[in-house]
Symmetry: C2
Subunit: 249 residues, 2 copies
């Protein structure tokens, strides 16, 4: 592989005997993490990858199948394999689980209320596995669905992964796409904990409801494809006209 296009080699047979296709998948993922290929960019052909990694095309195919299942790459029939990209629509619908009770084709909108760099509160320190002195950028937003305030969001972003985000004047509605394109942080997994709570006086003002109304409190920890915890988000959601929907199989 001396003339390899990659500055990367498969490690020699390791002690834990990881199957070859897993090693290949991991190598491809590392190259994506290192931005050897950018979001939306095409990967080389299976033939080319097999040659570069010095493995069979079948092994490359198995590796790409795994990365497709993990949504790290996307295959387009007859076209090729691409690094997955958080387009605004895709990220909105993949990770926004609140749905209108009736039919609604409207996308949720976001209103950014405040942005500040501050000391991380205790629950953000715990959720994001930070040190006590670490700072976070805190964003407060209000989401709008069908012309109604449907939820408030308080978002904590570690300063180390999102340097100077609090100075940006152009933070868009579609945060996951922004994290990927500006900070090279690709959202891969979210873990939501859901509780029912009563609206406080502040919640009531924010969402134009009454104090004491029931709300869903969704605490979300978001992991990047590198397995780092990059965002902690507390959402307080009305559920009188919406529901949180989830499918298990």
């Amino acid at each position: 592989m001396s003339n390899s296009m990659f500055d990367h080699k498969l490690s020699s047979p390791s002690l834990d005997f990881q199957p070859l296709y897993l090693q290949v998948a991991d190598s491809i993922k590392q190259l994506i993490v290192k931005r050897h290929w950018l979001p939306g960019e095409a990967l080389p052909s299976e033939f080319r990858l097999a040659e570069e990694f010095n493995v069979s095309q079948g092994t490359v195919r198995k590796a790409l199948n795994l990365l497709t299942d993990n949504k790290i790459v996307t295959r387009r029939q007859g076209v090729g394999t691409f690094v997955s990209e958080h387009t605004s629509q895709d990220a909105l619908f993949r990770f926004f689980p609140l749905q209108a009770d009736g039919k609604s084709d409207n996308s949720p909108k976001a209103e950014l209320l405040s942005v500040e760099l501050c000391a991380a509160p205790a629950e953000a320190i715990k959720a994001l596995q930070l040190n006590k002195k670490d700072k976070v950028t805190k964003l407060v937003r209000r989401r709008i669905l069908d012309n109604e305030f449907c939820m408030s969001e308080t978002i904590y972003l570690p300063q180390s992964y999102f340097p100077d985000i609090h100075k940006s004047s152009d933070i868009p509605h579609t945060l996951y796409h922004y994290y990927q394109s500006k900070f090279n942080q690709t959202v891969h997994k979210t873990q939501d904990s859901i509780k029912a709570v009563l609206a406080t006086i502040d919640d009531a003002k924010m969402l134009a409801i009454k104090a004491g109304d029931p709300l869903l409190l969704v605490s979300r920890i978001t992991e990047s494809i590198e397995g780092k915890r990059i965002e902690y988000r507390l959402s307080k959601c009305r559920s009188d006209h919406y529901h949180y929907q989830i499918e298990l199989d």
Copy 2:
């Protein structure tokens, strides 16, 4: 295939050109649905299946991979492939998403409060796609976690899929396993809608809480592996010491 062990043939090339492995996967699934192999039972070897279906072993392997991903069969390394079974533990943890806030190794328990055959209420008719005259068996249960009432459940089962279940004197805690072993209804998918509600006076009595306390209302539609809607379940869950947990990727 005249001496075939299966009373089943692959259909001739169909008009929609479904890939061969999908046809094989579908045929194996149909044989499972028809109880040619029972839950927990081993499937024949890949070699044998390839011979029976008159396809390559590679095609059988692809079909079994798909059925494994769909949790319809389970592969045990070096042993073989088995029809998935809802053991009590497995079903409890796969489909019971309420978790204690702290660490808890206790399994949830269930207390059966009532069983009756009745006319289906409007929301069960809608959820289960029933006719207005269809009857359902209604079960009311209370779940206990860490010695505390954590949720009430109202469960609707169509009479056609669960004949005479209301006459059973031995309905166990682990319903999904019971559905599979006694009624040949294998739970495959659940779809949960979650709202926040205030406890009514009845809820408060049932769960030993105060009226007006916030509760999670989880409406669950359950599908069998045949794609039939077999259960509609309304759960009212305390979330003061528990949360509903979900991972997306």
